[in-house]
Every structure is written in structure tokens, then in C-alpha cells.
Amino acid sequence: MHAALRQTEHELLKHRQVWRTSLASWFLTPLLFLGSLGLGIGQAIDRSGAAGTAALGGVRYLAFLAPGLLAATAMQVGAGESLWSVQGGFKWHRFFHASAATPLRPTDVFLGWMTWITIRLVLSATAFVAVAALLGAVRSPLALLAVPAAALTGLAFAAPLTAFTATCQQESTFPLIMRFGVMPLFLFSGAFFPLSQLPATLQAVAQATPLWHGVDLCRALMLGTVDLGSALIHVAVLALFIVGGLAWGTSTFTRRLAP
Amino acid sequence: MDGAAPLVHARGLTKRFGKATAVDGIDVDVAPGEAFGFLGPNGAGKSSTMRMIGCTSPPTSGTLRILGLDPAADGPRIRARLGVVPQQDTLDTELTVFENLLVYGRYFDLPRGVIRPRAAELLAFFQLAERAGERVEPLSGGMKRRLTIARALINEPQLLLLDEPTTGLDPQARHALWERLYRLKQQGTTLVLTTHYMDEAEQLCDRLVVMDGGRIAAEGSPGELIRRHVSREVLELRFADGVQDHLDLGVLAGIGDRVEALPDRLLLYADDGDAAAAAVHDRGVRPASLLARRSTLEDVFLSLTGRTLVD
């Protein structure tokens, strides 16, 4: 693990120059989304009366939206750091190869990258929760736990996707993953509206995705409506994706870096 | 139609990048059917000049006429009759090998029916036929270079500009290219090229200029340049490690025309190498090895610029 941290440190150093842009986007993105949708659409929904609010479980739209968006954004960050950036490490900047030429093993390189993504996820989720709290979208001190919950959600995508990228010589599948995987998940996994709005079959599909588990977990934590049983199930599902991804990545990185 | 008017005509041609002067008021004329070469150390201004001739870099000042036309006013018309091989390959990495030729030919408004057979012939000649349907990215460096050269020939240009065409090519590919260029020249194509290889310059160029620091240091045919700037023969003296550093060059005074000290050897220019070798021996200097040979363009280059050709 110590060796893996070398790789992480390398990434941290490299990103020192772009911290400011990242930092700005971590605070601005939730502010903009919550401001536009939460306040804009929220006003329309909240004004439409009891029917709308009841579907949301009796809370204002802003409070409903914030945790969903937290998890969905974590997924986007996780996926975003797992495709082109990882391929760049193999192919263009080749820093993975550079690291692999030192005593670091391919597994260390992979775990180091995952640690780096985890740091990014935790930081951006923290910024998100802070913004949500400022806008009055946080109902419970348990919201602090929504930060690790969001990080788990992001990792549930980052681990398998990073592992997958290591098997790709070409990038042609990446935009398709974003368009037909990440994007529909973002929009249909209960982040923006309750799943009950969807037809029954689509509901079942949505509930099978890791993002829905992340969304539901974050929502329960931020609204303070946690039910231990379902929370544990959510965590277990996310952990399954992460552990599976880590195991897969260990072998795909080894094959790519030390064939 | 242009008669014997020069295809490239430059007077006081200057290119500045900010404060730095890359090309410093050079005069050049290239006649139709000629093969003209630019030699010079790194940074001499060869590529800058080539890009101005290729009408992709506006001169800072001076007169430039290509094919009798003014690049500032008639860029597209001029470029339609040029073939350009830039120093760095600029292949379209989003296309296949064949598509690179097809699209480039289309830029010249050639019909597909004309491009196809030409592309097939060029790909066969440059031994890329089996890669025709593959993406450009994974090709080897030399293959990319060959494709860049093939691409420059797709419009059967009247004036062919080659900036270090053979850098990165294996000896076989180099000789094949020389042959092709020789044939093109016989068919009337005018060649302007830069190179760091003396054998290439001697093989291909009717006339060449040596550039240094943006200026022209010498001009003529390869033979003329050797006659004018260096003695007939050169004596190379190599010493055991460290000995050369302590050698007083004064001891060699009067032998031959001139002594040039390189980091790893001394060059003694003389009309008779063997006689010079004897004289060196007489003065008590004992090099580890002694070699007398005929002067080459390389020596011209060295004496004009103080630098070896291949850095």
C-alpha cells in the first residue's frame, strides 16, 4: 500500500496547477444545478400542491434533489477519471509505464490511481454537501456520512471502468459508455425524480444499477430517514462493484503494464 | 509559359518571430527543372524558408515570388501546384492510410477517379499497399514519413518542397526515394529540399546554399563549393584520451591551409594529405590514428559554420 501511495502522490503533485479550476467546479457545479433545478423547477413543483410534494415523500424538491445529485455527480466524477485519463496514462503521457518502470508493481499503480480518485471523490462530495447545507437542503447531521456514501458510489463506477480501460487499446467505446451508460443513469436513477414516476419495468431496471443504491443511500442520510436494513443492502451492493472492480483491475493492469 | 523565369524568386527574404530573426534577408532563385538544396546547422532557418516558399508562412519583409505569383495574393493558386513534405509529419490521424491520400487529393479538387489509381501506384511504390486500410497512428515512424512523401506527390506537383525528406528512413527506402526524385526531376519537376545528409545533397542537388544564422554563407554546385571553400584533401588526426587537450596547436603551424579542432579529432586541410601526414610526424606529433581522405561537403559545411552537419 505504501508503494501505491507513491502513485497517488505523483497524481496529487501533477494536479497542483489545476487545483483552482477543479476547486471552482466542485463548488460551482452543485451550486448551479441546485440553484437552477432545485429552486427553478422546485418552485413550480412546490407550488403545484400536495400531489407533487407527496410523490417526493413530503419534502421540498430541493431537499429531494440534493442527495440524488450528490450521488449522480460522484458517479460522473468516478467515470470521468476512469476512461480518457487512464488511457492517457497508458498511451499518451505514459505515466503508468513510467511508474511501472520503478519498483512499483502494476497493482500498486492501479491502487494508487484508485486512491487518487477516492481523494477527488471525497473532496468534491464534501464541497457538494457544504453547498447543499448552505442552500438549506440538509435535514440531518447524518449528512456527514453522505460524503463517504457518495465516494463509495463514485468508486463503484471508477473501479470497474478503470479496470476496463486497461483492456482497451482504442478509445472508441468511451463515448458510448458515457452516452449510453453514464448519461441515462444520471437522468433515470432516481436522482431528479422518484422512481415511482417510471413504468414498472424501468423501475426494476433502475433499481438494479449501483447508482440507484447510491442515490437512495445518500438521500436517506441527508434527509435523516435511514433504515438500517436497506442502508446495509445499499452499501453491500456498492462494495460488490468496488471489490469486483479492484480484483479485475489488478489483473488487467498487470496484463497491460507487464505483459 | 513562365519561360526560364525562376520558380522561386526571393530578394531580401526575412522572417522574424517576435524579436528573433529566423531568416535574415536571403536572396534565392530556383530555375525550372532544377534541384536546389538548403544545408545548414539546426536553427539555421531552413524550415522557416521552406514554409515561406510553401506559402504557409507570410514573410516579415522582402520580395517572394513562387511560380511567378505573389503568395500574399495568390496563395491558393500557388499551393495548387506545390507538393510539400514538411519536416514534421502532418498526417491525418483520424483517417486510414489510403484515406489520407484520398482526402489530400480532394483538397486539390482532383476527381476520385484520378486519385484512386495515383494513390494505388504511390502506395505500392512506397511499400504501404498492405497497410492501405489501416489507421495511420500505429504505423512506424519511417512508414509515416513515406506516406507523407507519397501524399505530397498526389497532385503531381510542378514544384516539390522536401524538408529533410529522408530523416527516419532506412537505407533502402532512402535510395528508393532518391531514385524517384531523380525520375521526377527528369520529367521536369523542380525540387527544393533541405537535408543534413551530405551524400543526399551531393546525389540530388544541382545547386545548394549553406545557411547559417538565417543568412546564406555560400552558394554553388557541390563540386564548386568544395573547390572554393576547402583544400582538396583532409587529414584526420585522432589521439588517445586527453592527449588532444594538452596539445599545442602551434606545433602544426604551416602544415596545410588550416587546422580545425573538433572535440574528438583534429582536421588538417591540405592539398596533399600524405605529405601533410609526413610533416606531422616530422614535428614529433604522435596521433593514435591518421587518415587522409578527399574533402567532402561536410568539410565545406564545417569550415563555413564551425559545426558538424549531423549534430
Binding site: 437552477s36 423547477i41 449510453f180 433515470f188 | 499551393r79 483520424e94
Partner: protein, 264 residues
């Protein structure tokens, strides 16, 4: 500059078309990715229309109540016209200009810098036009078109594409690194979210409303929403003028700046 650009677009239209041809050939290798571009606005429409539409019910447009779905659909069309044009002329164009250096070879042929700018604009427009046409078809099928004026929606979407393509090319010619693109992205997002796209302007505080009304996407959204819902008035001329000016100025700046990058 503008005059020379117009002249060159008449003369050089054919040369610019060659670059268009090149892009078409590239598309053949990545057709699935290109086709996928159509789904982004569709997904947004379905998510917001189905998921949120029921919760919201109806909203007010120019004093009339319309279904939230019919309210949000033209905005998605406008936003996708913007996003498509911006993506093509920033990310894609930056990649070709600075990274792959695709145009270095192009300008050594009879094609010039103006042809590059024009060709890429035409390309962005054509691609956006195909997406817009497909999206309008979906709107017709879903019964979200409330007026015959909607026949003008396609040219209006093209105009939005033109405005953002011009601006995008101009911006890209100033960019120095990939990081600058992130900053650009950060400027696009608020426009996407606040230009009356998801909620009526009235939902925002007065100060913010002024800012929104100054942004180009707002004018695009208003234009398309008027045409699709039939709330047509003289203000349309203002929107058209705004977007046209933006495209022309952007293209003129781009033509000059790109020359500096390519013809050093």
C-alpha cells in the same frame, strides 16, 4: 475582414466543402458515436418530461399555460444545438488545431484558413441540423408541437448552432491548453441550466433575470419556444439579430486568430 470572409465564402465555398468531405469520411469510422449525439437531448427530454413533468404540471408562457413537457422540449432542442456546436468547435476543433495538427497539412493545399473556419462551421451546422430534425420528429410524435410556426424551428435551431459555432471557433483560437477548455465548460454549464431552459424566467430573482436575458442561449430558447408553442411576436426579430451577430462576429474573429496559429 467580414467582407473578405463573405467573398471567400462565395468563392471558397467549394474549398470549404472539401473539409466537410473529410469530416464526413472521419464520421464513417465513428458513426456510432456520432449517432449517439442524438440521444443526449432525448434522454433529457424523457427524464424531465416524464419524470418531472407530472410533478410540475403546467407552467406559464406569455400568459398561457402549457404542459411542462411542451415547455421544456424546445429548450432541450436549443440547448442541444448549442452543445453540439460548442463541442464541435471547441473540443474537436482544439484537438485538430493544436493536438493532432490536422490543419497544418490542410493549409499547405489550396485550402486556406478561411476555408478551415467555414468548413468546420458548415460541418457543425450540418451535424446539428440532423440532430435537430430528428429531435423535432420526436416532438411531433410525442405531441409536443403546438403551432404551425414550428416549421421554422429547424432553421432556428441552425441559427443557434451558427451563433455558437462562430463563438466557439473564436474562443478556441485563444485557448492555450486543455485546462482552458475546462474553464470554457464551466461557462457553458450555467448557461445550460439558467437560460429559461428548465424553469420559466419568473422563477428567478430579478437581478439574475437580467443576467439571463443577456446570454445567447436565452435568446435561442425563447426563439424556439415561441415557434413551438405559437407565442410568436416581434421579439423574435431581436433574438434572430442577436444570434446572427454573434455568429458573424465570432467567425470573423476566428478567421483572423486561427491564421495566427496556423500561419506562424
Amino acid at each position: 475582414m467580414i467582407a473578405s470572409l463573405v467573398a471567400s465564402s462565395a468563392l471558397g465555398g467549394r474549398r470549404a466543402a472539401r473539409l466537410f468531405e473529410r469530416n464526413l469520411l472521419v464520421t464513417r469510422h465513428i458513426w456510432l458515436v456520432v449517432a449517439a449525439g442524438f440521444f443526449e437531448p432525448l434522454f433529457y427530454l424523457l427524464s424531465l418530461g416524464i419524470g418531472i413533468g407530472d410533478l410540475v404540471g403546467q407552467v406559464e408562457v406569455d400568459g398561457r399555460l402549457v404542459d411542462y413537457r411542451a415547455f421544456v422540449a424546445p429548450a432541450m432542442l436549443a440547448a442541444s444545438a448549442m452543445n453540439g456546436a460548442v463541442f464541435d468547435t471547441t473540443f474537436n476543433f482544439y484537438y485538430k488545431l493544436r493536438f493532432a495538427r490536422t490543419y497544418d497539412a490542410v493549409v499547405s493545399t489550396p485550402l486556406g484558413v478561411d476555408d478551415v473556419a467555414l468548413g468546420e462551421t458548415l460541418w457543425a451546422l450540418a451535424r446539428g441540423g440532423v440532430y435537430a430534425a430528428a429531435f423535432l420528429l420526436v416532438m411531433v410524435v410525442m405531441g409536443l408541437i403546438g403551432s404551425a410556426w414550428a416549421v421554422l424551428a429547424l432553421p432556428a435551431a441552425l441559427l443557434i448552432g451558427f451563433a455558437f459555432a462562430g463563438a466557439g471557433l473564436a474562443c478556441t483560437s485563444f485557448l492555450r491548453s486543455w485546462q482552458d477548455l475546462d474553464v470554457l465548460q464551466l461557462a457553458i454549464l450555467p448557461m445550460f441550466l439558467f437560460s429559461g431552459t428548465f424553469a420559466p424566467l419568473a422563477a428567478y430573482p430579478a437581478g439574475l433575470r437580467w443576467v439571463v436575458q443577456a446570454t445567447p442561449l436565452y435568446h435561442g430558447v425563447e426563439l424556439l419556444r415561441s415557434l413551438c408553442t405559437g407565442a410568436v411576436g416581434v421579439s423574435l426579430a431581436g433574438h434572430v439579430l442577436y444570434l446572427t451577430t454573434m455568429g458573424v462576429v465570432g467567425l470573423a474573429v476566428a478567421g483572423r486568430r486561427i491564421g495566427r496559429v496556423l500561419l506562424a
